[in-house]
Every structure is written in structure tokens, then in C-alpha cells.
């Protein structure tokens, strides 16, 4: 997503108010690679602005997503994640610690439809599931004999 000051301009141009709540969220999100949930942003924001409402967080995140400034990532477990990286990329989810990491794909998936076609595809989302480096290592240390299932590695 754009920088807080650029976003401020975008909001002004659209005759949207530049409230302190929004400005705070702009800066919390800008280049935040941790794929936070609304809840976790709420906790962080609350420290800097006690009394800010979770409802406002959801509201603003929704607006930013609708404006294309922010990507919504749903990995199937837990809450929706918000990703300021709106470039073409995908996600790796650690099934142990639930952390999400950005992933670049070299070969874009091509598909052939079983029923002969007729689908207009807007977007393709790829989710890799497994164990991240840290969790994989933790398990090996605890029980060196038991190997994690590992159909593919990188």
C-alpha cells in the first residue's frame, strides 16, 4: 500500500475525512509484513490511542481493501489477515505457529478445466501449508527421531 502521506492525499481527493484513527492505521499498516488481524491491530492501536474502537479498525481496513490499498488474506484458519503488499504474490502458512509469509511464485499455475471451460478467472490465490523454518527446527530438537511429513521442501 501507499505511504501514510500518499494515502492522506487519496482520502482528501475523495472527500473522505482524515481522522486521527485513520492516520494511525495508515502508519501501523504501512510496510507491515506480519499479516496482522483486525484484532491484533486493535491491540497495537489501543496503546497509542486508548479508546479507539475495534469497529473502526474493521471499518477502515474494509475501506482500504475496497480501495485496493490493502490485500485481504483468508487462509482458512482464524481471522482474516491484512496485507499491505498488493503486488502479485502468494502465501505460506505455518500450521504450527500460524505465521504467514509472503511467497513469490516463478511458474504461474495454468489450469485445464475438467468440464471443458467457460470460466472467467479474475484472480488466482495459492496457499502453501506446512511448517516454517523455526517450528520445523523446534520439533527436530524436541524429538530428533520423528520426522515431520515433508512432501516437498524448499
Amino acid at each position: 500500500m501507499r505511504s501514510p502521506s500518499e494515502l492522506a492525499q487519496v482520502f482528501r481527493d475523495k472527500h473522505l475525512k482524515l481522522t486521527p484513527q485513520r492516520q494511525l492505521l495508515f502508519s501501523l499498516l504501512h510496510q507491515n509484513p506480519s499479516h496482522p488481524t483486525a484484532e491484533s491491530l486493535y491491540e497495537i492501536a489501543s496503546k497509542q490511542m486508548p479508546g479507539i474502537s475495534l469497529r473502526t479498525i474493521y471499518q477502515t481496513l474494509g475501506e482500504l481493501a475496497e480501495m485496493g490499498e490493502l490485500q485481504l488474506v483468508d487462509v482458512g484458519i482464524g481471522a482474516t489477515r491484512f496485507d499491505p503488499n498488493i503486488g502479485d504474490h502468494h502465501h505460506f502458512v505455518c500450521e504450527s505457529c500460524r505465521a504467514i509469509h509472503d511467497v513469490d511464485i516463478l511458474t504461474a499455475p495454468k489450469m485445464s478445466l475438467r468440464n471443458g471451460g467457460g470460466f472467467a478467472v479474475d484472480e488466482v490465490g495459492v496457499i502453501f501449508r506446512g511448517r516454517c523454518n523455526r517450528c520445523n527446527h523446534k520439533q527436530q530438537v524436541r524429538s530428533p527421531g520423528s520426522q515431520a511429513k515433508n512432501k516437498a521442501s524448499n
Copy 2:
């Protein structure tokens, strides 16, 4: 997933009871390509077995998924879908009617990790979003001038 009679044997072998509720679900799921939700299965099951509990549907679906007899599909909107096709395939979601279709991919996605690796990947899920044949056609009939966004088609 396996046929109802094969599943019955699996359950017997595991000393799990073969209740009428389970048998009904086996047959409702077997070769059901519509990716039903727990709720929709509940509605269908209720007609054949009034009084069956939604709780039991969730319970049994969870067990079957855990046994690897059926795939859990979460496309980010609405409830979890259940897919008896446990072969290697992916999904297309129509953003208009929310129907899900199985998709075979020719080129398995390869990835390069931004941070240099260390991820052990267990599974890769690809979700294609767009408009299915039928919905695409409906829209064109209603407003022939407005084209659906169509970054890729098949």
C-alpha cells in the same frame, strides 16, 4: 472418498459404530460433486431422517476429514465446503453464485521464497476466483455493453 460399503468396513475395523446417521451421510457424500456445506447436508439428511442433529453432521464430517476420506475446502466466503474428491485437484469459485467447481492444474506451482527458504511445504491449495459460465452469460444478456473484468479466461 470410498463407497459407503467400503467406509462401513473401515469403521468396523476401527471399532467405530456404524450408526444409521453415519450410513446416511456416507451415501449423501459419496460422489457428491457439489461441494456441500454442513448446513446443506443437514437439510438433505433431515428429509430422509427427520430429527438428525446438525451437531452429528459436523461430527461425522470432521471424522471423515480426519480419516482422509474427504477434503475440507475453505474458500474464504461462507461456510466450509466438503469434497469427497480427495485426489490432487484445486477449486474454482464463482463470485456471483458461489458455486465451487473442481479444477485440474497442468503445471504445479513452483515457488521461490523471498527470504531464502526453510519452509517445509505439506500441501498447496490453489483457488481461482471469477465467474462461472452460467453467471457470465446471465450478465452479458442483461447488459451486453458492460464487460466482466477478465484478466484470464479458459
